[in-house]
């Protein structure tokens, strides 16, 4: 299996895209620590992985808290060794028109979606540099490229993720560490389930493939970037959106 024995950390692995990424990497042989914001969420990840016979477990992590990040990384280091694959997936939305957007709505999204990537990448790089091997995959969004009314905060973070990835890719490329973004379009998850039917229908009309994507279709691209096959791809944003947006 292509990721045999690699230690992977996937944030936001309770459900949706993160869950699919965690399970797909583990199915490829990686030892995966998937994080959730609560202890019960972490237990559910452990149970899910155990049920599927996958190596790894869930751990509780607050990506906006530096101490929580340090604690989880220390726990992983002790139990499994240094993190070799980091997938920054945890993200939230707090949609509002800019004219009505509160400071909290702005900063909560910035902290969770963007500052967490700074925190986690920095914390994991030490081990990757020593190993002269590492993979960082940041989950961006089509909204970071196209924009979306009501999501100035979210799209700012998702565009930020792409720029972050390109800069870090240049910093650490010489150490055989790749840094890429994957930008999903509309994927069938809890985050898109809340969209009004009318809006969904209007979207289908604009998606050449005529459907929402499945979380596994994002996970497959992440797996590719983490595997040896993706070893020469860095600083790239891979759009996975059924053709809704073409660069």
């Amino acid at each position: 299996m292509s990721l045999e024995g690699k230690v992977a950390l996937v944030t936001g692995a309770s459900r949706g895209i993160g869950a699919a990424i965690a399970d797909t990497l583990a199915a490829s042989g990686a030892i995966v620590v998937g994080t959730a914001t609560s202890a019960s969420g972490a237990d559910a990840i452990s149970a899910r992985m155990q049920e599927k016979g996958l190596k790894g477990e869930g751990m509780a992590l607050n990506v906006t808290d530096a101490e929580s990040v340090a604690g989880v990384l220390a726990a992983i280091q002790e139990k499994y060794g240094a993190v070799q694959i980091l997938v920054n997936n945890a993200g939230i939305t707090k949609d509002n028109l800019l004219m009505r957007m509160s400071e909290d709505e702005w900063f909560d999204v910035i902290n969770t979606n963007l500052s967490a990537i700074y925190r986690l990448s920095k914390a994991c790089l030490r081990g990757m540099m020593k190993a002269r091997w590492g993979r960082i995959v940041n989950i961006s969004s089509i909204v970071g490229q196209m924009g979306n009314a009501g999501q100035t905060n979210y799209s700012a973070t998702k565009a930020g993720v792409m720029g972050f990835s390109r800069s870090l890719a240049k910093e650490v490329g010489s150490r055989n560490i790749t840094v890429n973004s994957v930008a999903p379009g509309f994927i069938d998850t809890d985050m898109t389930k809340v969209l009004p039917e009318e809006q969904k229908k209007a979207m289908f009309d604009n998606i050449p493939l005529g459907r929402f994507g499945q979380p596994e279709e994002i996970a497959g691209v992440v797996k590719f970037l983490c595997s040896a096959d993706g070893g020469y791809v860095t600083g790239e944003t891979i759009h996975v959106n059924g053709g809704l947006y073409m660069c």
Binding site: R126, M129, K130, E171, V172, S174, R175
Partner: protein, 79 residues
């Protein structure tokens, strides 16, 4: 540990930067004399932290630009 701090620092510098130990003079600058790039200097500090089991804060690490400054830092903070 039988070797002196100076010897240990020089050994790590030579290993990390891929230079011969005799090139690692006290006054040598990592970047200008020993060919390190900025990322090499970050890794060098990481290696020093591990060798001497200490944590060097970022603002201090940035000031360690020569072999002698590294030796001084270790002497002052670990002696």
């Amino acid at each position: 540990m039988s070797s002196s701090i100076e010897e240990r620092v020089k050994k790590i510098v030579a290993e990390q930067l891929g230079v011969k130990e005799e090139e690692v003079k006290n006054e040598a600058s990592f970047v200008e004399d020993l060919g390190a790039d900025s990322l090499d200097t970050v890794e060098l500090v990481m290696a020093l932290e591990e060798e001497f089991e200490t944590e060097i804060p970022d603002e201090e690490a940035e000031k360690i630009t020569t072999v002698q400054l590294a030796i001084n830092y270790i002497n002052e903070n670990l002696a």
